[in-house]
């Protein structure tokens, strides 16, 4: 039996700012909750190829597992959780941007 495909998002770092970004249906977002959730393996592979070709915008694109059971995707691994939020010693990174909203 084929291995179950876990939902994924395409994520990378932005070339200019270096920060964490996620692929949407039409471009990129800095907010995981806005990311496009990929539930089909073949589709996910194609989306990753598409992302990897955008070398003028992104660096190091890869597929990251997400929990898609809620209204918005959530990280399943602590590393992705930190990437989506920022470091724990200062309110820098994405948590800083969120507190400025």
């Amino acid at each position: 039996m084929a291995r179950e495909f876990k939902p994924k998002v395409v994520t990378a770092n932005a070339l200019l700012e270096g920060d964490v970004i996620y692929q949407t249906a039409s471009g990129w977002t800095r907010d995981l909750s806005q990311a496009e959730v990929l539930t089909d393996e073949a589709d996910a592979d194609l989306r990753l190829i598409d992302a990897s070709q955008q070398t003028d915008l992104v660096v190091g694109a890869y597929l990251a597992d997400v929990d898609a059971s809620g209204a918005t995707p959530k990280p399943t691994h602590f590393r992705e959780d930190f990437r989506a939020r920022g470091p724990s010693n200062y309110a820098h990174g994405k948590q800083e941007a969120l507190s400025n909203v």
Binding site: L15, E17, G18, H77, F78, P87, S88, N89
Partner: protein
């Protein structure tokens, strides 16, 4: 301090101009990331978890007040107002944007600094004893030699693509504060029959295969240093493994081929290249040494220091932990702790950097040092100025009296910043420091080095911590392994793994149990944690760490 020659300045300027053009070509699409990555790494620019990171070399940990001011300005202008001092005597900026990096490098060049060879498979920033030129126990100042090695290794055409990175450390003191036995090459300045020379240690290193360096040459005459180093790196360059990144460091080369075989190859190579060194290097070394002439020390009877010790307990406590013996009896070496309880080890705000720079200028013969233990040092302070220095430091949150104690923790950036990390280090360091501050025990516990790495690469030197902590990812959860009995000094040893790891919640109580066990076990208050460990071995500490296993066995 060493001053750039016109050649140095022109070289840095040209490198910065090249890198500026490379960044532009990356942004306009002429360079792919695969093409750009080795170029940015050669200039100290990493891409980490949340942002780019620029690693700036502080050669042998020495800088002046003007340089420290510029480091502060860079933090304000292009980062988030702080910098992180590392275990390799570098400073890292965690938040630069790609377009700004060429400007940051130009600002550094204005004060004779750069980020060259702070990454990549090259000879990295040469490190040295942070008390160099000041310590009472020193044979000679290691920094002129470190500077000579820097000049020799920078852009050395043969050594730009080594099998793996290559780290050299130098100490001029028999009390090794530079961890020379855990470097690819460690140099200990020694004297034999009135002649100055080096003990050459090779193949030390931490990481996934920790090894204590082996003595390759027990006495190398001083003037033979560069050809001998060139012979070692040259042999490694050819013999070192390029098929497996994890077996590519010189420690594996020496281990797999054996010290005798490696030594024979080095000697053969040395015989071949020695005649090419005509002595120009020794002329250059003499010129460099003139740059490191001792400051003119003030002659003044020590008075205010003793008064302050008598009347201010907080000052006395700080003086007891944060001062080291200077070569001049009226002077002291001040270690400024960047380990305030609960703060991030090694971080300094731009305001703190400026204050330290100003104190160095006013009271410290304009010199600062960065230690591999992530603290800042004022190497030359007259004892009468210590009360003023202390009160200024204290007002800026820099007066923590904990150097060498349990809260003076080395911690790598870990998964809060680093893309390679498998777990976080910083919060563990923060929590241990906070906990022992609450217990008010650390002065009673005495000298105890805790070192934390967030992955097996061991940037946090956990293998040589008296208590080492290694953060791992165990089935998607942060897990922390403890090693005990490590030591980074002249009696270097690799810590022994204590047993199964602990969760992030369990690790702080586990460390507390260890320390409480030590307090019970020590033969007298003067017996340090490491001495007790060496006397009794792992068993009683293991029993304290794993009380349940003990109960089950009973």
């Amino acid at each position: 301090m060493y001053n750039y020659t016109d050649f140095d300045s022109a070289f840095i300027k040209e490198r910065n101009a090249q890198f500026r053009a490379q960044v532009e070509r990356r942004i306009d699409g002429a360079l792919t990331e695969d093409e750009f990555k080795p170029l940015r790494l050669m200039n100290g620019l990493y891409l980490q978890l949340h942002a780019y990171m620029l690693r700036v070399a502080i050669p042998y940990g020495t800088l002046n007040s003007r340089q420290m001011h510029v480091l502060a300005d860079i933090a304000d202008n292009w980062d988030k107002g702080y910098g992180h001092f590392t275990t390799r005597q570098n400073i890292q900026y965690n938040w630069p944007e790609l377009r700004d990096v060429p400007d940051m490098l130009d600002a550094l060049a204005e004060v004779q600094m750069h980020a060259i060879q702070t990454s990549g498979n090259t000879i990295r920033n040469v490190t040295a004893d942070h008390f160099a030129g000041a310590a009472a126990d020193e044979i000679a100042d290691p920094r002129p030699v470190a500077e000579l090695i820097r000049q020799w290794s920078t852009d050395h055409p043969e050594f730009q693509f080594l099998p793996r990175k290559f780290k050299v450390a130098v100490t001029g003191s028999p009390n090794d504060r530079a961890v020379t036995r855990a470097h690819d090459i460690g140099l200990r300045m020694i004297e034999r029959d009135g002649l100055a020379g080096f003990e050459v240690i090779v193949g030390g290193g931490l990481g996934r295969t920790p090894m204590i360096g082996k003595v390759l040459k027990d006495f190398l005459p001083r003037e033979d240093l560069l050809p001998y180093l060139e012979a070692i790196v040259s042999v490694y360059n050819l013999l070192g493994r390029r098929d497996n990144k994890y077996k590519a460091r010189i420690k594996i080369t020496v281990h797999e081929n054996g010290l005798d075989d490696f030594k024979a190859r080095v000697e053969e190579r040395y015989a071949l290249i020695r005649p090419q060194f005509s002595g120009v290097d020794q002329q250059m070394l003499a010129a460099i040494e003139a740059d490191f002439a001792l400051p003119t020390f003030r002659k003044e009877a020590v008075r205010d220091y003793h008064d302050a010790r008598q009347h201010y307990p907080a000052f006395r406590s700080w003086a007891d932990t944060n001062l080291a013996e200077h070569r001049e009896p009226d002077y002291a070496i001040v270690t400024i702790s960047l380990k305030a309880h609960g703060a991030t080890p090694g971080d300094a705000t731009s305001g703190q950097m400026r204050l330290m720079a100003d104190l160095a200028k006013r009271y410290g013969h304009d010199e600062l040092r960065i230690s591999h233990e992530q603290n800042v040092i004022l190497p030359h302070v007259h004892k009468n100025d210590l009360p003023s220095v202390y009160s200024a430091l204290r007002a800026a949150g820099l007066g923590t009296a904990n150097v060498g104690l349990i809260s003076d923790i080395i911690a790598c950036p870990g998964m809060d910043y680093c893309a390679l990390a498998t777990a976080r280090s910083i919060p563990i360091a923060q929590e241990i420091a906070t906990r022992f501050d609450e217990l008010k025990l650390e002065h009673d516990v005495g000298p105890l080095k805790i070192k934390i790495s967030g992955c097996i690469n061991a940037c946090g030197h956990h293998h040589v911590g008296h208590i080492g902590i290694l953060g791992l990812d165990r089935a998607g959860v942060e897990n922390y392994q403890i090693t005990l009995g490590g030591d980074g000094t002249q009696d270097a040893s690799i810590g022994e793994r204590a047993g199964p790891g602990f969760s992030a919640e369990e690790i702080i109580p586990a460390v507390e149990r260890l320390v409480m066990a030590y307090l019970d076990l020590r033969s007298e208050p003067a017996e340090t944690f490491l001495q007790t460990y060496r006397r009794l071995g792992l068993a009683p500490f293991k029993a304290a760490l794993y009380p349940e296993a003990q109960a089950n066995a009973a």
